[in-house]
Amino acid sequence: MKKKISAVLLASLILATGCSSKAPDTTASPTTATGGDKTETKAETKEVTVWAWDKNFNIAAMKLAQEAYAKDHPDVKINIVEYAQDDIIQKLNTGLNSGTTTGLPNVVLIEDYRAQSFLKAYPDSFQDLSSSIKASDFADYKIGPTSLNGKQYGVPFDSGVAGLYVRTDYLEQAGYKVDDMKNIDWQKFIEIGKAVKAKTGKDMLTQDPNDLGLIRMMIQSAGSWYLKSDGATPDLKDNAALKDAFQTYKELMNANIVKITSDWNAFVAGFNSGDVATVPTGNWITPSVKAKADQAGKWAVVPFPKLKNTSSSVNASNLGGSSWYVLNNPGKEAAADFLAKTLGSDVNLYQKLVTDIGVIGTLKAAASGDAYSKADDYFGGQKVISDFANWTTQIPKVNYGMHTYAIEDILKVEMQNYLKGTELDKVLNDAQSQAEAQVK
């Protein structure tokens, strides 16, 4: 009996100690201040998580930055996570609205159109990078969207400068040369498009009814936007450029030279499979265009068409373009350092970005690099990058403000109505009143 009791006692002792000694493996190492003005964490693996979309462009660029940084900073682990842009927006909004940054990354890519709405809505959630990078090192037009109240929050990334990618072989079949496509207006574009369709059976361009990027490019080429220059007041009803863009859009559809797509994959498939003769879009499509090696030499890039009836419209515009932001959460110092030393200043990295991926950055110093003035065989020896850089300087500056996509959602529906036959004035009036109701 005694034995049993002592066995039970011993057993319980063993169990108790066995259970209580389950300490988690924490390998916390103390941080030591080294001489100088910087405190460095010693031998502690720092992790920086980056969220971005587009595997072939932003993610690929980030991977190059990661490689460049890893050489001198083996102690920092950069995790790159791919999400769809909509997912990133949703996750950011969810997280920042609940006032927590847990579960959010250290570095996030935000499209310039949306940047102001985030910076204004969550001013304390983003890290001021004014001390990490110099805003004046970057293209001027990127500073508006990426800064707020004089503080630089974003590391300006890619240029969204738009161009018109054209299939020279299709044009030739229709009796046109590349020069015929340069510095034209949309009406000329439609005229050529009809000829191309008649001769080759190919549509001139793809359009996704759920993405009015073309409208945005058209109005920016005229220095106009969905909002007035204060970035807050909807400017639809009496916006001449927008009216012109809408009419042009309808003309394109009526000309039956548009291949309709429903998603990005179909958009890319459209030009990759040779179904369309042109791609009017941002320069970031270059890698996707060049993905088809068998089409090398059949492409050229010409200036973006302008609006015929809007005098302020020029042959230059912008689509998209985004910048990197650091969230105000643990690890922000490492994240800011990572960005500052790579995409914030590394000219060589930008050469690599151009050469390997086709990313045109907005770091001024990088533009004088060799890679920027290289002729591209894929585009028949055209110096595409320097052309884009040249057009960049002509892009009319607009204030994207905070509500680009909210208003675009309204306009998508109204575009439907317009195409179905509703009067343009009524369409834009309706859009204006909806927008005013929404974006207050």
Binding site: I14, D263, N265, A266
Partner: protein, 507 residues
């Protein structure tokens, strides 16, 4: 070496006692630990099985709700005219296509937001080769790849069923593996298939359904009917084939076992499994015995504690047995010394009751011994003294001196005869007294001695002293102690020579 063995043998009792205690303490601790560990392991396996089968139920529920979300999407997509016409109508002019595409996407977005399921990519692919994907991170490649895949063919073979499978990151040129659910689209009540619906979820999101239930050594794996691991919290296993895992899962579910203990991935594991009919997958919960039990039973801590207990016990035992046996050892030492040296090694009385008593007894014995010894020595001394006295009494040395002196005088005087006679008398006297070893002699002989003695004394003291002997003849043979009469004669002479007593009569 010899000294050491002697020391060892001297301590043999202590050593034996100590060894026995050491062995018993060690065996008790080891056995108790072992039994406890075994019992707790059994208990642990049982409770683990019970809780984990409940957990598996919960995971199943989670997966079912995921499946129902997919079912809902499938139903909604199949009921949507806009989607059907998008997937079936031939290409028209830009404007009509624009409307058709717009309303299709609009419908898809409604369906998706209506379901509230985020993290899911929905794709449709029509017989007219039109396609739509809601989120291209799930599929970068052209949709033809999906169209010609086995998933599509399987879906078309079983139009009523949502077929699940794993697609690696290489399929669709993405960054991570996904779980793909494919279903052939046919309008309700109609047989004709007009497209395929694909629902993709990243494996990492799919994993979230059960990830919270897993821990190191407690893994969940979901395998399809070919043994391919489609999802697991151990991401390195995803996409690998494990036939034993599948066999074990089939065995457990067919036999209706609670769990199965087997070797897998080179480790001893407990496996629980269940079949997921909606997915045609098996869910297997693999518990690595070593690491989970290791978690539960911190072997190192147990070992250290047991060792510490044993060591303390042994130390105490060592001290106590040494203390108990110390008095015994000193007892032994002293007792063995007694035989060699002396009886004065008294014990310091101390230690336990027994040793105290022993020491007392020993000391008492030593007392007694010493007592006897003293008496013995005294008796011997006395004996020696008595013998010496007897000897001294037998021949008074003075008598000898005097006699010799008298002889000397006689020689000087020139009375040779007298000297010679005196020497003769002395010789026979000495012969009779000293050389004769007998204790007793006859009166006759005693008288001879006495007469010699008297003769010698007369030489010394002169002829003035006359000695007469009256001895009855019948006494002549009687035995008397030697020289018994001599002292009387000596006294008589002494008295006479000093006090001038004229005669001595002895009878």
């Amino acid at each position: 070496m010899g000294a050491w063995t002697r020391r060892f043998t001297e301590q043999s009792l202590f050593n034996k006692m100590f060894m026995v205690t050491v062995l018993s303490i060690l065996s008790v601790t080891v056995l108790t630990t072992w039994v406890t560990v075994q019992m707790s392991q059994k208990l642990f396996v049982q409770t683990f099985s019970i809780t984990n089968s409940k957990i598996i139920e919960q995971i199943k529920n989670g997966l079912e709700s995921f499946h129902y979300a997919n079912v809902n999407i499938a139903i909604n997509v199949a009921q949507s005219g806009a989607i059907k016409s998008f997937l079936t109508e031939p290409d028209a002019d830009s404007l009509s296509n624009y409307k058709s595409y717009y309303s299709m996407v609009d419908q898809m977005k409604r369906i998706q937001s209506g379901n509230g399921t985020k993290n899911i990519g929905i794709a449709v692919l029509g017989a007219n080769n039109r396609s739509y994907i809601s989120d291209r991170t799930y599929w970068y490649s052209p949709m033809e790849e999906l169209l010609h895949s086995s998933f599509t063919q399987n879906a078309w073979k079983q139009p009523g069923k949502i077929g699940y499978s794993l697609i690696g990151e290489d399929m669709g040129d993405t960054t991570e593996p996904r779980i793909l659910a494919a279903k052939a689209l046919n309008a309700p009540g109609e047989k004709e298939i007009y497209g395929t619906l694909y629902m993709m979820i990243k494996e990492s999101d799919f994993r979230n359904v059960y990830a919270s239930f897993t821990s190191a050594g407690n893994d969940v794996m979901i395998v399809d009917t070919t043994g391919t691991i489609v999802s697991s919290n151990r991401s390195e296993l995803i996409g690998t084939k494990s036939v034993p895992l599948l066999e074990s899962a089939e065995h457990i579910t067919q036999q209706g076992l609670a769990n199965q203990e087997l070797k897998m991935f080179g480790k001893d594991v407990i496996a629980l499994a269940d079949y997921l009919p909606m997915f045609d997958f098996y869910i297997v919960n693999v518990i690595d015995k070593e690491s989970t039990l290791g978690h539960m039973l911190n072997r190192k801590a147990i070992f250290l504690i047991v060792a510490a207990i044993a060591a303390t016990a042994l130390l105490l035992v060592y001290i106590f047995t040494r203390r108990v046996t110390k008095s015994m050892r000193t007892l032994v030492k002293k007792m063995s010394n007694v035989t060699k040296k002396n009886f004065h090694n008294y014990m310091a009385v101390g230690g336990s009751y027994e040793t105290r008593e022993l020491s007392n007894a020993f000391n008492y014995m030593l007392d007694e011994l010493n007592d006897y010894l003293k008496r013995l020595v005294e008796t011997q001394n006395e004996q020696r003294r008595a013998e010496l006295a007897a000897l001294q009494q037998q021949i008074n040395p003075h008598f000898l001196y005097n006699t010799l002196a008298s002889v000397n005088i006689l020689v000087q005087r020139g009375s040779k005869e007298k000297a010679t006679e005196t020497i003769h008398a002395l010789i026979s006297l000495l012969q009779n007294t000293i050389s004769n070893v007998k204790e007793t002699i006859s009166v006759k002989e005693e008288l001879v001695n006495l007469k010699h003695y008297v003769f010698i004394n007369q030489i010394r003291y002169g002829d003035g002293i006359k000695v007469d002997y009256f001895v009855p003849p019948d006494c002549m043979a009687a035995q008397v102690p030697k020289l018994i009469l001599q002292p009387f004669m000596e006294n008589a002479f002494f008295m006479l020579s000093t006090k001038r007593i004229a005669a001595i009569s002895m009878s």
